[in-house]
């Protein structure tokens, strides 16, 4: 028989199972190539499962960095122990921020929203109240201003260097919320960009629709709780009929209440 299909082999290795059907099971027993692939993937899964237990890592004493600093003759402002945040001299030119030792991965900590927040960097605070300026001077009554509820700066994902975006959630006089998304990125021809709201712990996501060009407005379904779905994501989606997120995010950012 042919080699076991890659998706199938990966799932078997992940779950530590033998194939259900006899021919495939026999093949896995005989085929060195499939067997090696299976074993490596199973080992990968075991490493992933094992994680990094709390307390597994400890910091070397400050004297270690001091020795490195002296031996290499590094700049004086870098003298403080990087692990405790000690800094001999903090100059504006070299604001090397301290990082706690515990920053190393812990499998229980939801990491990526933090990373996104970090990547976004300066999260926009207090956009204030946006005023929708209607047709001035017309006979119509001046529209009631839309209130800006939240906004997000959208930062580029790896592979989308230079892409940026912005999202603003507004509520109109009737209580209808909509989100305005602007994207500045060059998306390859053939792909479409789709706008998503993602739950802060990545346990769920909602598609808001396709972004036509660089800007779009999407009405938010009434049931969406923005304290729960805090991330705005624009992804590149192949036109393949698969409704799931492609996993290829262009930009993403965290909504911050105004």
């Amino acid at each position: 028989m042919d080699h076991i299909e890659p998706d199938e082999l990966a799932v078997l290795a992940l779950e530590g199972r033998e194939p259900d059907d006899d021919a495939a099971r026999a093949h896995l027993a005989e085929c060195a190539e499939c067997r090696a692939e299976y074993d490596t993937l199973a080992r990968t899964a075991a490493l992933g499962r094992a994680g990094v237990p709390e307390g597994e890592l400890e910091a070397p004493p400050a004297s270690v960095w001091a020795g490195i600093h002296a031996e290499l003759g590094l700049a004086p402002e870098l003298a403080g122990d990087p692990l405790t945040g000690g800094r001999a001299v903090a100059t504006p030119a070299a604001p090397a921020e301290p990082r706690p030792v515990a920053e190393l991965p812990s499998r229980r900590r939801p990491w990526w929203p933090i990373a996104v927040a970090a990547a976004v960097g300066g999260i926009l605070v207090g956009v204030g109240v946006g005023v929708a300026i209607g047709g001035l001077g017309d006979a119509e009554p001046t529209p009631v201003p839309a209130v800006v509820l939240a906004s997000a700066d959208l930062a580029a994902f790896p592979g989308w260097d230079g892409a940026t975006g912005h999202a603003t959630v507004e509520e109109d006089a009737d209580g209808i919320r909509s989100i305005v998304v602007d994207l500045d990125a060059s998306v390859p021809q053939g792909d479409v960009s789709e706008v998503w709201l993602i739950r802060s712990d990545a346990s769920g996501l909602v598609s808001l629709g396709l972004l036509d060009g660089s800007s779009g407005r999407f009405v938010l379904p009434a049931g969406i709780d923005l304290t729960e779905f805090t991330l705005v994501d624009v992804s590149a989606e192949p036109v393949d009929g698969d409704p799931a997120h492609s996993g290829d995010s262009i930009v993403r950012g965290e909504l911050v209440e105004s």
Partner: protein, 189 residues
């Protein structure tokens, strides 16, 4: 990057700055991975002073040999772990030499080094890569790893087609694997 904090840049950007010779990148690389380097040395050598020496040598070697670091072949953390392995081996060799000179030690005394099969470095590498997956594949892998769900249960839980889950599993495992199956070639600096 001159005004941005190095603590906030991702591993790839850090590797770029490191290779380019920015001393702040060395400092940040120390902040990120010296606990791992130290732990690997301590486990293998069983002696804190020796482990501290190895940690120091690893970062000095890495900095002096930064022109040999090839970002297309390895991540910065994997490269540093590779150097760590060599420095630990050197330390064991140095001890063996000292022991032969002394001709005194017959049996292993107080120190019982951990077996070489210790996989802490691999686990840290995989955990690092897991954190870099996109939210959906990451969620898929977390449900598989930590909640022990089967791929069909994951499909139910996330309301995804089974085929999509399988495809996420294959791509994610391939990425995680590439991270721990690092090229452990010569890293002599």
């Amino acid at each position: 990057m001159t005004t941005t904090s190095f603590a906030e840049i991702d591993d790839q950007a850090l590797a770029r700055e490191f290779a380019a010779g920015d001393e702040r990148a060395l400092r940040e690389a120390y902040a990120r991975w010296s606990p791992l380097v130290f732990r690997l040395a301590l486990r293998s050598l069983g002696d804190r002073t020796d482990a501290e020496d190895v940690t120091q040598q690893v970062y000095i070697s890495a900095w002096n040999g930064r022109h040999t670091f090839d970002r297309s072949r390895s991540t910065l953390s994997a490269w540093i772990v590779g150097i760590t392995r060599h420095r630990i081996a050197d330390a064991h060799e140095g001890r063996a030499r000292a022991r032969r000179l002394q001709e005194a030690l017959v049996s292993e005394a107080s120190v019982a080094p951990q077996p070489a099969t210790d996989d802490l470095a691999e686990r840290v590498m995989v955990a690092e890569e897991l954190e870099r997956l996109e939210p959906v594949p990451r969620r898929v892998m977390e449900l598989a790893f930590y909640d022990q769900l089967s791929h069909t249960q994951i499909a139910d839980a996330l309301d995804l087609p089974v085929g999509t889950v399988k495809s996420h599993v294959r791509r994610s495992l391939a990425r995680l694997r590439a991270r721990w199956e690092v090229d452990d070639g010569p890293h002599r600096a």
